[in-house]
């Protein structure tokens, strides 16, 4: 009886871990992909698309939808950031740097083609995605 009880608790805990890992990030995606937020972090000035990502305890917005085919620069803002999100890694363009604790890092990502663009932190605990669309 003791054993069955333990198994039930174990299953409940496994489901809990599943919710924390998968469900949690899914709901975050949904709120962040709302158009108002996406519109706020993209600005096109002088033919260059600027995408702003805040880095502190993770990256926000986590998913951004932007236009493909125009010169794009990424602005990563840190504000008293000491955690993993300060060590930014973008594999596709070979960028890796530990960002200053407070400041803005401008990363030139060229003219992106349609597709998903990913950035992670050095330890792989946080990531962000930019969905480039034609």
């Amino acid at each position: 009886m003791n054993k069955t009880f333990s198994i039930i608790i174990t299953l409940a805990l496994v489901v809990g871990i599943g919710i924390i890992f998968l469900g949690g990030s899914k709901s975050k995606n949904n709120t962040n992909t709302t158009t108002s937020e996406t519109a706020q972090n993209i600005e096109i000035k002088g033919g260059i698309q600027y995408i702003t990502i805040n880095a502190k305890g993770g990256y926000s917005p986590q998913v951004t939808t932007a236009k493909a085919g125009i010169p794009t620069k990424l602005i990563v803002k840190t504000k008293g950031t000491y955690d993993c999100s300060a060590s930014l890694v973008i594999r596709s363009i070979g960028f890796q740097k530990i960002l200053a604790q407070t400041g803005e890092e401008v990363v030139d990502i060229g003219t992106p083609k349609a597709g998903t663009f990913k950035g992670t932190c050095g330890m792989g605990m946080y990531f962000f995605e930019i969905d480039f669309k034609n």
Partner: protein
């Protein structure tokens, strides 16, 4: 008159324990030959015991074996069934701790804003935060697994832990100072820390499985390889010092940020102070983990503790391994914790 007795032995868990048992028992003048067998948990003892009954002999021999936490008995003491129950208690306990840890990370109460100049005081506070942050999964997980393993094998664990913590504090100060002198000339290599992190998570997985007891059935093959090596080095003085030194390079965002601050501090003293204060901030949590596991390991809850710790360490090991692979770009990032 020469006689040979067979005794069952409890608590003997490694290949080198055979030698230890044999050499301890040979100290008795009336014993001529001892053979300890790990696989069958049997000890064969030959000697001149006079009129002593096997029970009394076992009692007498146990007086020296007790300090290694082994004990001899005439009857086989069944322990398999008891351990089965322990694992079913350990799994929910271990998972409970893992859930608490990740809920703490999700709650974002750790994202306290610390602005302005980084002083030794702020780096101490950042150390405190870092010690309960995601870095706990890798640094804390490694400390927990090694501490539990050392406590399980070794009675002089206090000295080992003191050396580890001292080694960690001193190397953080010295390396911070070195970064302060060198200035911007070097960058901290991401791939190097990521590979070190993956190595650490593999060690955690291995030790975690061992603590849970997955390997206990075929302990001989495993102990002769990696564990003989591990056992040989864990008794040496420099090993805990080196591991303390190595934690400087483990992948942890907070450590890397502080390294950057030390790098731009401009002098040996200021760089050393910043890294030392940071290491001091992480100290309470790590001391709790290492000495906490030692005190549990010597209590009557030891089997439950080892198995629960094993579950936690396996969980953290999997998390660190996946995170490390994602950091290297080998797999897609799976989570935002």
């Amino acid at each position: 008159m020469q006689k040979t007795y067979k005794f069952y032995i409890r608590g003997m868990h490694c290949k080198s324990c055979e030698l230890m048992t044999e050499s301890e028992l040979k100290e008795f003048p009336f014993i001529t030959n001892v053979k300890a067998r790990l696989r069958s948990n049997l000890v064969e003892i030959s000697g001149d015991f006079g009129d002593n009954s096997p029970e009394n002999i076992a009692k007498q021999l146990n007086t020296v074996l007790i300090k290694h936490r082994y004990s001899l008995s005439v009857e086989k003491i069944p322990q398999e069934k008891k351990q089965d129950d322990v694992i079913w208690k350990a799994i929910p306990i271990g998972l409970g701790f893992i859930i608490l840890f990740f809920m703490l990370q999700k709650s974002s109460i750790l994202n306290i804003g610390i602005g302005g100049q980084t002083t030794p005081v702020t780096s101490f506070i950042i150390g405190l935060i870092a010690s309960v942050s995601g870095c706990l999964a890798i640094v804390g997980g490694l400390v927990l697994s090694l501490s539990a393993k050392v406590s399980q094998d070794n009675t002089s664990d206090t000295r080992t832990f003191l050396l580890f913590h001292a080694g960690r504090l001193v190397s953080f100060a010295v390396l911070g100072g070195v970064l302060g002198i060198i200035g911007g000339a070097i960058g901290i290599n991401f791939a190097f820390t990521a590979i070190l992190g993956i190595f650490a998570s593999l060690v955690m997985l291995f030790l975690g499985l061992n603590l849970v007891g997955i390997f206990s059935k075929n302990k001989i093959t495993l102990h002769s390889g990696f564990f003989n090596f591990f056992k040989r080095i864990e008794h040496k003085t420099f090993t805990p010092l080196i591991i303390g030194f190595g934690t400087f390079f483990l992948p942890c965002g907070f450590t890397q940020s502080m390294q950057l601050v030390a790098l731009s501090s401009g002098s040996f003293m200021s760089g050393a102070f910043i890294m030392f204060a940071f290491a001091l901030g992480t100290l309470p949590m790590l001391v709790l983990l290492s000495f906490g596991s030692a005190s549990f390991a010597h209590s009557k809850h030891a089997p439950l503790f080892f198995k629960s710790a094993g579950i936690v360490v396996i969980g953290f090991g999997i998390f660190s391994l996946l995170a490390g692979l994602a950091g290297l770009g080998i797999i897609n990032p799976l989570f935002n914790i």
